[in-house]
Symmetry: C2
Subunit: 81 residues, 2 copies
DNA sequence: ATAAAAAGTGTCCGATCTGGGATTTTTTGC
DNA sequence: GCAAAAAATCCCAGATCGGACACTTTTTAT
């Protein structure tokens, strides 16, 4: 199964990442050890930190098995390969 | 026609944003005036700056009419301890 | 072809903030 | 009750971002 979620702001990003981590039954510590980020970063990102750096976010997305897609407004169904 | 772009890292993000800005025939200055970011930020982001902050990136995406989607494929827990 | 305008790039300054590590406190779960 | 997880604090070297200015390249117009 493949799911897509539209993320509008840092707050929603954090909430989604938290939910996804829970689904995978991982702790912040496990995530931060597998990916190259600190536990504090995971903590703050999940809380919606707007100043988190994009490079670190990509590392975390990879660790969680998530892909980032950009879709032009009005073409929200276009991510399908 | 629908358009989807998978973005894997800051470099690809910058390249895509540059291309989209060109499609819209906007200048860096115009973008930075409509959104709440500086011209230098636009410049550096388009060059692939990995330390750009996510909150500002969301502002830019809105300005360009782009949506950010997170897509999950499978159950990416193969590495789970 | 030439000149002018626009776009892009780079650098300086400064207030503010990052993110990792370590430690401590609070919450959660069994 | 107890241990693990999560959250909250410090410290601090280093980086961000915006604004301003100077310079170069590209585009546009005559």
């Amino acid at each position: 199964m493949t799911t897509s979620s539209k993320i509008n702001n840092p707050k929603e990003l954090g909430q989604y990442l938290l939910e996804e981590r829970k689904r995978l039954k991982l702790t912040q510590k496990e995530i931060s050890e597998y990916t190259d980020v600190g536990r504090k970063f995971v903590l703050e990102l999940e809380k919606g930190k707007p100043t988190a750096q994009i490079g670190k976010i990509f590392e975390l997305l990879n660790g969680l098995g998530l892909e980032l897609h950009l879709i032009k407004r009005g073409e929200a169904d276009s991510w399908k390969p």
